[in-house]
């Protein structure tokens, strides 16, 4: 029986009075902000006739398109992506845990595309950086002077035998990553599970992940939802990581493991989800030696292995050796985000083969930097900006509280404001995630911050 028709009681839209009050409360500050933003000083644009192609229209693609269209005078900027709906991906975990209604995460891409930018509604099928050209899936060849690769990544569910993305939401199957519908369906599955309780199996693959905090948030929130429903005592939750950790930043890894020990969530390391029998609700995990073991579950959260999209993977652009080669990740210098072998190519966002940085927060910090570095290169200078790998993860730990974790390539915790304690349960971190990060995201997308 499908669980998809079950209600989502915690995700009711805000009522009119609440909307009015929230809008009214922001009035004085917004008036001030509007005046300030309107009066923001404009930098002199660099005159050029360069043609810049941006592959991808996610947050990274749109943010850099907006910045380049302002920072360059006379350039031709082409964005290539068929996507008509722009999804606010950081909101998926809120939808998948019943906190937000699904309609809060989708906007029309046409409303977000910067003015003056050519939008080719096709997908890049082939990158030919030797000839400075891309080929779209309709066979159209587009030549460029400079290229920004912002394609995002590929969710490789095919590596999990028996996995069917269309089945998310049924038979206790959850996975937050594919899109808004899957996130909503995941909540339906979780909501159904929490009413009776049972066994939950939470997973983590071995590949680089976008929003690597999402599997942890989902785990914390399963516990919280079970507690709210009064079924925690009748339930057990097991976390299987294909790695020897659950998060790449040691201090956060240790802190989450400590909390999970208190919450009675055992973790099995080096245990990779390799197969799932959706109808029978049985998962198969394997250790590095290849030994396989079946585990029954009532609810499972599947996190797919991730890699570069085929168009990038099958091109000369990925790393040729090292840890990022297998996934086909873009070979960029981690500091400048400029391609190491094709100097007129830059990478932005999830596609980059760098040690950190597959979150919207990474785009916030790196999009201005890549834009400036590209402008420097067009002007005949060396890139002037250096990226420290900044990323951020508002880590939901229960409904109403979160940790605001920020860090860099070197695993240093780098809070934006000195008074923020990244390891402190916090309402402020919650309100950031729940209310303020989407406005921040929109400002990044428009190239203003």
């Amino acid at each position: 029986m499908s669980d998809k028709s079950e209600a989502c009681p915690s995700a009711a839209p805000a009522n009119g009075r609440r909307r009015f009050l929230l809008g009214a409360s922001a009035l004085p500050a917004i008036a001030g902000a509007g005046l300030t933003l309107a009066g923001a000083p404009a930098h002199a644009a660099l005159k050029t006739s360069a043609h810049i192609v941006i592959a991808g229209s996610g947050l990274g693609g749109l943010a850099i398109a907006a910045r380049l269209s302002r920072g360059l005078d006379g350039a031709k900027i082409t964005v290539i992506d068929r996507k008509e709906i722009h999804n606010y991906q950081p909101g998926y975990t809120l939808v998948a845990t019943g906190i937000w209604p699904v309609d809060k995460v989708s906007d029309r891409n046409v409303d977000l595309m910067p003015a003056g930018v050519e939008w080719v509604r096709e997908m890049v099928a082939e990158f030919d950086p030797v000839a400075n050209a891309v080929v779209t899936d309709s066979g159209r060849r587009i030549e460029y002077d400079y290229l920004v690769v912002a394609t995002g990544l590929h969710l490789d569910y095919a590596q999990i035998e028996g996995m069917d993305v269309a089945a998310i939401g049924s038979n206790g199957l959850g996975s937050v990553y594919p899109g808004p519908a899957a996130a909503e369906a995941t909540w339906h599955a979780m909501d159904s599970f929490r009413r009776k309780g049972g066994s939950a199996l939470m997973t983590l693959p071995a590949t680089p992940l976008k929003c690597a905090g999402a599997p942890l948030k989902m785990t914390f929130m399963v516990v919280d939802r079970l507690k709210q429903a009064g079924t925690r005592g009748a339930s057990n939750i097991a976390f299987h990581s294909a790695l020897d950790n659950i998060f790449s930043v040691p201090r956060i890894n240790d802190e989450v493991l400590r909390r999970w020990a208190e919450l009675d969530i055992p973790v099995t390391f080096n245990s990779k989800l390799v197969a799932v029998d959706i109808g029978a609700r049985r998962a198969t995990v394997a250790n590095p030696e290849g030994e396989r073991r079946e585990i029954g579950y009532d609810f499972i959260h599947v996190v797919p292995p991730m890699r570069a999209p085929d168009a990038v993977m099958n091109s000369p652009l990925p790393w040729q050796q090292g840890g990022f080669a297998a996934g086909g990740w873009l070979e960029v210098d981690p500091g400048t985000l400029r391609h190491r072998r094709f100097p007129n190519v830059f990478g932005l966002g999830d596609i980059n083969g760098t040690g950190k940085g597959k979150t919207a927060a990474t785009i916030k910090k790196s999009a201005p930097l890549v834009a400036q570095n590209l402008i420097d290169v067009i002007a005949g200078r060396e890139p002037s900006q250096h990226f420290d790998g900044y990323t951020s993860c508002p880590l939901l730990i229960r409904e109403g509280s979160a940790l605001l974790v920020e860090f860099d390539y070197d695993n240093r915790l780098t809070p934006s404001l000195p008074m923020i304690d990244p390891l402190q349960d916090s309402y402020f971190a919650w309100i950031m995630k729940y209310r303020l990060l989407k406005p921040a995201y929109m400002a990044v997308l428009k190239g203003r911050v």
Binding site: S25, L27, I30, G400, S416, P439
Partner: protein
């Protein structure tokens, strides 16, 4: 400076999300001010005290109800940053209430 710029942008985008409500409140305030300003003998100074009192009351109420309205609770106030954030959030409601109350209170203190 960057954090200030980011905060201003967040507020601006937040305002765009609630644009009808923001415009409605601004129009209401402008009409109340116009109404008061065109009446003779309005007590602007005397109206300040009750306006501030209204603002303070709304701030307190907002302080009490905001955690619940944001799917949280006072139990989730972890440290002083949370309390400060909640206070400023509530004070923003209070400031709007005071701004709306001022022309009304001032009109009630007419001397002519």
């Amino acid at each position: 400076m960057y954090e200030i710029w980011l905060t201003l942008n967040i507020l601006f985008e937040l305002g765009l999300q609630y644009l009808p409500e923001v415009i409605g409140t601004a129009l209401l305030w402008a009409m109340l001010m116009l109404f008061a300003a065109t009446r003779p003998g309005v007590g602007w100074r005397q109206g300040l005290v009750p306006a501030i009192a209204v603002g303070a009351i709304v701030t307190v109420i907002s302080f009490l109800v905001t955690p619940g309205m944001t799917k949280s609770s006072f139990a989730n106030m972890g440290y002083w940053v949370d309390w400060m954030n909640l206070f400023f959030y509530a004070a923003a409601f209070g400031a709007v209430a005071a701004a709306l109350a001022w022309p009304i209170a001032a009109s009630m203190y007419r001397t002519a």
